[in-house]
Symmetry: C2
Subunit: 223 residues, 2 copies
DNA sequence: TTCATAGTTCGATGATAACCGAACCATCCG
DNA sequence: CGGATGGTTCGGTTATCATCGAACTATGAA
């Protein structure tokens, strides 16, 4: 008995845009931190924390503590399957309601993803880095010799970055573009230098603005 | 892009308790009218109408007009599959939030289902009618000779009922009990006579109260 | 120890949407 | 033509819940 309400509670959980973004981000299979999830969800960390608590409560996600990080992942393959099926339904239904998350509008172009560049510009930059052989593609992106020179050339201290525990290169699924952009220590460093060099400026909230000098720098692979 | 929000809109649709009840009721495969669905959902016809419009809009249910009735059914097997999977998840999660629908509390025991008795009492009555051979089980319940006598004995005009277009005996899935109770013309007639004979009284809203004389009458199969 | 980063909890606010009463359309029956 | 039944639309009310600021806890680094 009460099957109706029971499925309702689970569906309602998935039915919130922020939580749906969190869940779809986790469909990649990798465990992500609360901060990263806050980014893809487009809401603040506090809000995300609340959502994650609910999702964990309902056993849709699982948590793993590792030092001061908390890694969240989907609780099991079952959850992923349901999400897949829901996507299928949504596709067929041509659902369009799209109650866009807060700040969503301006963030599509360029935004801060945790501590690196995301949005159209972020995706474009990564693909450009591959094209120009500054990075080589693979499981995770990998720095090439040509890349070492280029990044050092704009003032990034690669040696210092490599001494840190944080992985140098990671890719991160861009939720508005559904393609990867560059994360990891290098992603963060590029953003930091780009701001210092006037290539990127901070906008409202998490939005970023790529200046015209920034656009040409990215296009020419920092040359 | 925007996959997150898209799945969110579908999930949110399923995530409302009233709509979830509607959808689970339709999982039986039979097409039901708006009034019947209003009953299982535990909300008024107006509210149900709104819900059905949204569900139809998202292609989760399909409508068929037949005279002045509108028969609603699940749009396709896909939808049923998703619902199944969600039920599975809900089960594992031990979801308990159960934001019960309005009036839900008092309706579990006995309530009006469209125009017949539902709830624990309704389910118990049908099973008693089978046990005492007033009805024989099957695709739909079927009236026996013994049943004709018994029902005529309490003042039900079976001939008149059979002249009507409405099917005499139908079963109807009880949403609180997840078992069948008796619907159709006979189900309605039994309720009508039960009220006339003081076996059942109307309570608040759609709730019904089975009196002690009613309980013994049902237990003894109207003898 | 102090500072910084990661995350949670709490309280207040605001917006969405479910809900119902009432009035309105549509179909069938006599 | 009425009258009755099945459904939908509209408006106003209410409750829920997502959201964020601020304060707090916890882990790690210097």
């Amino acid at each position: 008995m009460k099957d109706g309400p029971v499925i309702a509670s689970v569906a309602a959980l998935i039915g919130d845009p922020a939580r749906a973004n969190i869940l779809t981000a986790l469909m990649g299979g990798r465990a992500l931190t609360a901060s990263e999830l806050a980014e893809v969800a487009g809401v603040t960390l506090q809000t995300t924390s609340g959502h994650l608590a609910k999702l964990a409560d309902a056993a849709l996600v699982a948590v793993e503590k590792q030092g001061r990080h908390r890694y969240y992942r989907l609780h099991s393959g079952d959850v992923a399957e349901v999400l897949e099926k829901l996507m299928g339904l949504a596709q067929r239904s041509g659902a369009v309601r799209v109650r866009t998350g807060p700040r969503d509008e301006a963030m599509r172009e360029a935004r801060l993803c945790y501590d690196h560049l995301a949005g159209e510009q972020g995706v474009a930059l990564l693909s450009r880095l591959f094209e120009t052989d500054l990075l080589s593609p693979g499981e995770t992106p990998c720095l090439t010799d040509k890349g070492r020179n280029a990044f050092s050339g704009i003032g990034i201290d690669l040696d210092a970055l490599e001494r840190k525990r944080r992985p140098l290169c990671l890719h991160c699924l861009d939720w508005s573009e559904r393609r990867h952009h560059l994360a990891g220590g290098l992603g963060a460093a590029i953003l930091e230098r780009s701001i210092a060099l006037g290539w990127i400026k901070r906008g409202e909230g998490r939005t970023l603005i790529v200046t015209s000098s920034g656009r040409s720098a990215f296009r020419n692979a920092f040359a």
